[in-house]
Assembly symmetry: C2
Homo-oligomer: 227 residues x 2
């Protein structure tokens, strides 16, 4: 086995360990010694491989951002489906959310890494929403920007503030039970947002017309419906 004295392998081990550590403690709170211990590697190797704690952090952000971009690119256009899909994604990627959150808190408004890539990623989703709006699949009323933020907000929030989610619902946001309730709510919300009277204006309209019910698979399949 080439596992001894294999630099690539060592790098991977460090990256994996560093991801956990950064997710758990943030950049400032993370300890290089702890990363080394978790990785089962001499602390010196961190600096040998990545030069500095900062560089290591950047490297991890790059990787994670790449992943998330790939996710958004393959995301379904139908609103309820997207909501469900996102919620599931966040649930199984709490670490990524935490990383994101740490960064917002520690680093401030300007992304330290891959600003362009991120902008691109967001733009793609916004574009989809805009097209959906033009084609009448979602209401014309709201700003797509704001709508997008709201959709992400609703799905991500319980994992961003697990404390509050637990206080409100009485159970852990990581539990199956919570996920079920959330799905149910997201369905309701999605229907609300898409169905009633979006043909013309955002005028409140009494004709709550049941519309094509979106098929949602709770399993995390690719759910392809590109563009």
């Amino acid at each position: 086995m080439g596992a001894v004295r294999d630099l690539e392998r060592t790098k991977e081990k460090i990256l994996r360990a560093a991801l956990s550590e950064f997710c758990a403690k943030g950049f400032a709170g993370a300890r290089t010694a702890a990363i080394a211990r978790r990785a089962g590697v001499n602390k010196r190797m961190i600096f040998y491989c990545f030069g500095s704690k900062e560089n290591l952090y950047r490297e991890i952000l790059w990787r994670k951002i790449g992943e998330s971009m790939r996710f958004f690119e393959s995301e379904p256009t139908e609103l309820v489906a997207a909501l469900i899909r996102w919620a599931q994604k966040w649930r199984q990627e709490v670490n990524w959310i935490r990383l994101w959150e740490w960064e917002a808190l520690e680093r401030g408004v300007r992304p330290v890494v891959a600003e362009e890539a991120r902008r691109e990623c967001v733009k793609v989703v916004l574009e989809k929403l805009r097209r959906a709006q033009e084609e009448g699949r979602i209401p014309q009323g709201p700003d797509v920007d704001q709508l997008f933020l709201a959709l992400v907000a609703v799905t991500v929030f319980p994992y961003t503030y697990p404390q509050l989610a637990r206080l409100a619902s009485g159970i852990s946001p990581m539990s199956e039970e919570f996920a079920t309730r959330q799905m149910k709510f997201l369905h309701w919300l999605g229907e609300r947002l898409t169905c009633a009277g979006f043909e013309k204006t955002a005028e409140p309209n009494r004709t709550a017309k049941p519309q094509r019910r979106s098929e949602v698979d709770h399993t995390d399949k690719p759910a392809q419906s590109p563009v």
Copy 2:
């Protein structure tokens, strides 16, 4: 002026400075030396007054939680109004949001301080929602827990992830422009959520609930329970 050698005054100065520092850097990132400098006070005084960094932090949480509870108690029952009111509140209390967020990240799911007080605070709002639901002022469909989380989510999100808000909208979430757009969106959303397909039975019934103010306790124990 009695500003010289006044312990209460000194405490206040420290608390104010510590609030900024903790909001900016979190607990781990905050530096006692920086707090002292900001407060224009000898570092030793922090420990003289509060015993430890940890205690100082707890004290601040206590105060802020008290504030937020008072806010929620006086909050309007009408949904759109509540949305608007919350959004405005968050906007002018970004520091409080940050503190909250830091805590979620650094301290984990279990509140370190005032768990009971918080639960009470959430319960009050949930109760209002439930009543609104019974009286038909908001739809019967959704779980109040989930609805509550979603409402908070939508209003708080831009300030939680200013990076993303900026990427999506192109402007700073702290700008006037953003606030305007958000208000417009919240109106739209509120209408959507309340109007279609149920009867509106307006009954301006407001019950003021007397609230016991908790005594500040430096030795607040985390109320441990294995999770």
